[in-house]
């Protein structure tokens, strides 16, 4: 008796909820650990850091004590501290110079390796190797022993001309070449992504373009690049984020030192972190706007809409024709009837 009642009860509750809702709930079961973790360890800290950056934070016997002190931390970070702003500028320049270089090199390598190519696996393995071995301290040691510097650009004639024209530009070029090998190390993942994307392009597209008389150069710019544009965007965002995490970026180290600096406190560290993040978000935004897929906005939708409109017009015309036909027939019929 009891068992039956239980079964009935279960059935009833299921009927009330419906299958979809139940499966939704168990979806949350799988999803819950991440969700809780995200709220506690990422969403809340993200907002809390804003608050911290406007206050002074002290560790007392009772715990953390925060008092609001306006924009003092920001003033200290940007105006009083003499090393933060230069570090920020250095980071910004590194991103602006390195990211296009990394993406371009990765793209060129992927295009060269695409198609009928024998040692693709071998080269791919070589180019991917840095992703596995790179770490902050490895990079620092390699850079400190000069192992990443291939040749010296200062001796090159063209470089001397450049230096006499614009010392700032020359510094940037030196900056790039001194760490060139390490910079290339960041292109490991973009190469794999590009190669994978290129191999998915339908070769019939290229054949059709060739028959229409397009050159290889035109095919590259008009077909290949537009198709893999989303991958360029993803790789760029990935590279911007990645570059920030390594000792090429001096700001990370400064923030870490500020966390352990008991005199200045965590408020200053938060201000550092927020200014830095703001800069990164701007970079990401610019990358997104530049590389966003515009074609989807109008071209594709327009074709479909145009076709639909045309169809609709044709249907209308046909309908009108039929109506007229029917009308004439009727009229004829009426005339006949009159006679």
């Amino acid at each position: 008796m009891k068992k039956e009642a239980k079964i009935k009860k279960v059935k009833k509750s299921k009927k009330n909820k419906g299958f979809k809702e139940i499966s939704n709930r168990s979806g949350y079961k799988f999803f819950m650990p991440w969700l809780i973790g995200f709220i506690i360890f990422t969403a809340f800290p993200f907002i809390y850091t804003i608050y911290l950056s406007f206050s002074s934070v002290r560790l007392t016997v009772l715990g953390w004590e925060t008092t609001f002190n306006g924009i003092a931390n920001y003033v200290t970070a940007l105006l009083r501290n003499t090393s933060y702003t230069p570090a920020l500028v250095q980071f910004f320049l590194a991103e602006v110079i390195y990211v296009p270089v990394i993406i371009t090199v990765a793209l060129i390598l992927a295009i060269l390796m695409n198609g009928d190519f024998k040692f693709r696996t071998l080269f791919r393995v070589i180019y991917f190797l840095p992703v596995i071995v790179i770490s902050g301290s490895v990079m620092t040691q390699l850079m400190s022993t000069g192992s990443v510097q291939i040749g010296n650009v200062r001796g090159v004639f063209i470089f001397q001309i450049l230096e006499s024209y614009s010392p700032i530009l020359a510094d940037l070029v030196i900056f790039l070449f001194n760490n060139f090998a390490i910079v290339l190390w960041f292109s490991g993942i973009p190469i794999v992504l590009f190669l994978n994307g290129l191999q998915k392009i339908n070769t019939q597209l290229f054949e059709a373009a060739q028959i229409d008389g397009a050159t290889g150069w035109q095919i590259l710019w008009k077909i290949t690049l537009p198709i893999i544009r989303p991958i360029i965007l993803v790789s760029t965002i990935f590279t911007i984020v990645q570059l920030g995490m390594f000792p090429i970026n001096p700001v990370y180290g400064m923030i870490q030192n500020a966390i352990f600096d008991t005199v200045a406190g965590l408020g200053l560290a938060s201000a550092y972190a927020w200014i830095y993040s703001f800069l990164v978000l701007i970079l990401l935004g610019v990358a997104f706007l530049l590389l966003k897929d515009h074609s989807k906005d109008y071209a594709y939708v327009d074709v479909v809409r145009l076709q639909n409109e045309k169809l609709e017009k044709m249907r209308k015309r046909v309908r009108r024709q039929q109506e007229w036909n029917a009308f004439f027939r009727k009229q004829k019929g009426v005339k006949h009837g009159k006679h």
């Binding site: 168990s26 506690i40 360890f41 850091t49 992504l193 972190a273």
Partner: protein, 319 residues
């Protein structure tokens, strides 16, 4: 003369090809370029290996560029001692292994939820997964540090300086590059036909049974790939580890980062190290770097396919 004239078009076709990209000249150029860039990629590693076998004499000698004349294992020995191997390596192994296990488990769960279930604001949460990758770590690191250090004070239990903070972060799905791991699982689970789930459910399996018996057992290769990535990234991670663990636990990249100071403390007691006045030579540092990299390199040698294809499995290249 005739034969030469006949030969020219054939030669031209061989060299330039029907298309330029079929010709011998183009192919040679591509190979030369790719090999040159591969050389640039590997240059720091070659330098590292070369330096780490050079004796002090060879380093000073300006005529020696790559191959040492008096090769020596002393550098490796000293670096081995300074980094307190093999204990550091063992520490790193279980440290990265634990975190990687936790990350793999949680990203599998999350990836499965996104691949199979419909719930409210699903797209929003998916965006949040991607966003958690983009947010710079320092912004979230400071409150996290406050949480853990006040938890330490309240619980009177050592948290900072152990694996606990990062383990909690990993379990919460906020470890190193967790978003990418979730993406790999998400894309793989999407490829498994839903019919299998439904069949198991009709046979009376619960949701977790379906997940464990059907899905997980089918995706062992993906699990291995994700675990390997998580392992490598946790092994190489220095920033979060440097904040939460600091020097309390000897880990490979951490020891390498502190190499200079440890070296100057320890050098007097290491047998075979140069006594008296000396300078910290590059070869010790490079030997230490090589020791740090070696485990990952050896692993990569055996499972490179998993790594390269793992990145393709993220599905960001569009399916």
């Amino acid at each position: 003369m005739e034969s030469i004239k006949r030969f020219i078009p054939i030669l031209k076709k061989k060299l330039l090809g029907h298309n330029i990209s079929d010709g011998l000249i183009y192919k040679t150029a591509v190979y030369v370029l790719l090999i040159a860039i591969a050389y640039v990629f590997l240059y720091p590693l070659f330098r590292m290996v070369s330096y780490s076998f050079m004796s002090t004499k060879d380093i000073i000698n300006p005529e020696i560029d790559w191959l040492p004349i008096h090769p020596t294992l002393l550098n490796l020995k000293i670096a081995w001692e300074v980094m307190s191997m093999p204990w550091t390596l063992l520490n790193s192994m279980w440290f990265a292994g634990t975190l990687a296990l936790a990350q793999t488990l949680i990203s599998a769960l999350t990836g499965y939820a996104f691949a199979r279930y419909e719930f409210k604001f699903k797209n929003f949460w998916f965006m949040m997964v991607l966003l958690s990758f983009v947010i710079p770590i320092p912004v979230v690191l400071i409150p996290r540090w406050m949480m853990f250090s006040s938890a330490q004070n309240i619980l009177q239990f050592k948290i900072i300086g152990t694996v606990i903070p990062q383990l909690l972060l990993a379990i919460a799905g906020q470890g190193v590059y967790s978003a990418i791991l979730i993406l790999i699982f998400y894309n793989f689970f999407k490829m498994i036909p839903v019919v299998l789930d439904e069949a198991a459910k009709i046979d009376g399996a619960s949701n977790f049974q379906v997940f464990y018996h059907i899905i997980l057992k089918m995706s062992v290769p993906t699990i291995i790939t994700v675990f390997l990535f998580a392992f490598v990234w946790n092994y190489n991670e220095t920033y979060v580890t440097g904040t939460f663990v600091r020097q309390a636990l000897k880990l490979m990249p951490g020891q390498l980062g502190l190499f200079d100071s440890i070296f100057s403390d320890k050098v007097a007691v290491i047998p075979g190290a140069p006594g008296g006045v000396f300078r910290l030579s590059e070869s010790y540092k490079m030997a230490a770097t090589m020791i740090t990299m070696a485990p990952m390199m050896i692993m990569y040698f055996f499972v490179q396919k998993q790594f390269v294809e793992g990145i393709e499995k993220t599905g960001i290249t569009g399916e």
